[in-house]
Subunit: 332 residues, 2 copies
Amino acid sequence: MLNANCCYHLHVPSPEKTLISRIRKLAGSGKRSIIKGIGDDSAILRPPSGHDLLVTTDFNLEGTHFRREWHPADSVGHRCLARGLSDIAAMGGEPIAAFMSLALPADLPQEWVDDFLRGFLALAKRFDVTLAGGDIAESKSGILADIVVIGSAPKEKAIQRSTARVGNIVYVTGTFGASAVALKALFASGKNSKRLPHSERSEGWGRHFYPEPRLAIGRYLRKHRLATSMIDLSDGLSTDLAHICEESGVGAILNQNLIPIARNADLDLALHGGEDYELLFTARKSAKVPVEIAGIPVTEIGWTTREKKVLITDCEHPAKKLAARGWEHFKR
Amino acid sequence: MLNANCCYHLHVPSPEKTLISRIRKLAGSGKRSIIKGIGDDSAILRPPSGHDLLVTTDFNLEGTHFRREWHPADSVGHRCLARGLSDIAAMGGEPIAAFMSLALPADLPQEWVDDFLRGFLALAKRFDVTLAGGDIAESKSGILADIVVIGSAPKEKAIQRSTARVGNIVYVTGTFGASAVALKALFASGKNSKRLPHSERSEGWGRHFYPEPRLAIGRYLRKHRLATSMIDLSDGLSTDLAHICEESGVGAILNQNLIPIARNADLDLALHGGEDYELLFTARKSAKVPVEIAGIPVTEIGWTTREKKVLITDCEHPAKKLAARGWEHFKR
């Protein structure tokens, strides 16, 4: 826990205790469901009664999930928390608290830590999430953050991946490929993102650096019982749809002409690019799904099928198998 | 979450998806309060109604918290989980679920991962804790594990650090310094622990490699409303008592003749050694605290005071200030 209660801790940018005090001060006391935040052996939370608890945890490792020369520190903080909030959105849940375990290199400038915390806490504030604990350690190489987000949903109402049924309609929110376009530009330039001229910045710049978790949409779908299953799109449409199909024991067929492709992106990036942090959900064909929820377009892209394959068609040729290729840029 | 839902994941000892399947199989479906474990965007838990939720998170980093040449993989797995369980014990709580984020070097032998999981899951099984999720990533240097343990305690009954009152009696469970004796032997030998002859192994060997979280004692103290405050002793008696005093706004005076020192240890290791994973608690002087709880001796070692200093006396000389020196061996 974020309480200096760790065995062999040493030189972090501020000495550990000072850093914890700073974080504790910045985190504030939080909302009513936080009985005790930072400063004890465990945090004490009191989720709404009659709710199930949602818990999600995500690693964010320098070189794997972000690069210091590409991602400003406040973007890293934002993205860390956005990933967890997006997981809560995908369950139709409400976030309550976040826990942040940070391992930092001894030579990391204090300014980086401050900017990271600023990005993290600004997003936390917007969604009324309390930073309620974590851990601090020194890292021998690179920045490591493990973020836990705890949320809740009314009992038995969380929307799972495993509950799609044959003959459901497959919907997605927003558009696809914008984040991948930005990342592609970064890879191509190899440059420090801060020095990239504005003309080289894609439309997906903001989508990549400051993704927006779709909590309002998840909540709407849960409240109106519209979704039979749901997942957030972090790996890429092809991979995440495969997860839904695998967990639900169904297949799917997509109409590639219906995929909402972001400006400057293409079908390949839209299908496999990843990090769009949109939602994919399935609904019964009788469900009245709005064409827009919370200002974001909702698009029908296909159906679930009894045959346990994920297929895609252009309506001109026979349907082909859609490989789950996710985002593979960092792969060797 | 432990669901392959991560952006740029690559070569872990088993390819990521295979490793997740193995963990999912080993973890099992768990107890009734786990509605959904591994395999969705979030885990879904249903803690007992009328309970507050306890959340604790601890980093376990190779080179900082353990060394591969000293600690067998199953000990690392055991210790990772024991730290979190000890935090839940210190609140008087019951553990429910654990979440394990693992970053592993690409060249780590599969055998190490299997042994680690064996150690982790054997302890989890003993305390009826379900491994309900986590994350997997590749590490560029060393093994990293971030462990979250979620537990619960009846509403408003969790025992905090900040609630000691002036004139309380200070108690500890068990004996102190055994783990530090073992670590000292490892430092002195610089050897691979598996090759250390039995004669060089201290009595604290098991205490260091396989610490026992004091959950039964924490539960007893909470049920019988005996403790006014509590903390687990991971950093060392001197440092952890300082935490209680700081959070509660009190001081303390210890009688050094009363400190229960483990065989082969000395007063210095007992006060500052750390990693004993015993409990320190305070109680009103009228409280009927047993001399033994769940087979472990409970010892009175001093009192809390209005003067906000931590003092220690041998009863022969004036009391001296007890510096919070914790465990400092790894410090540069």
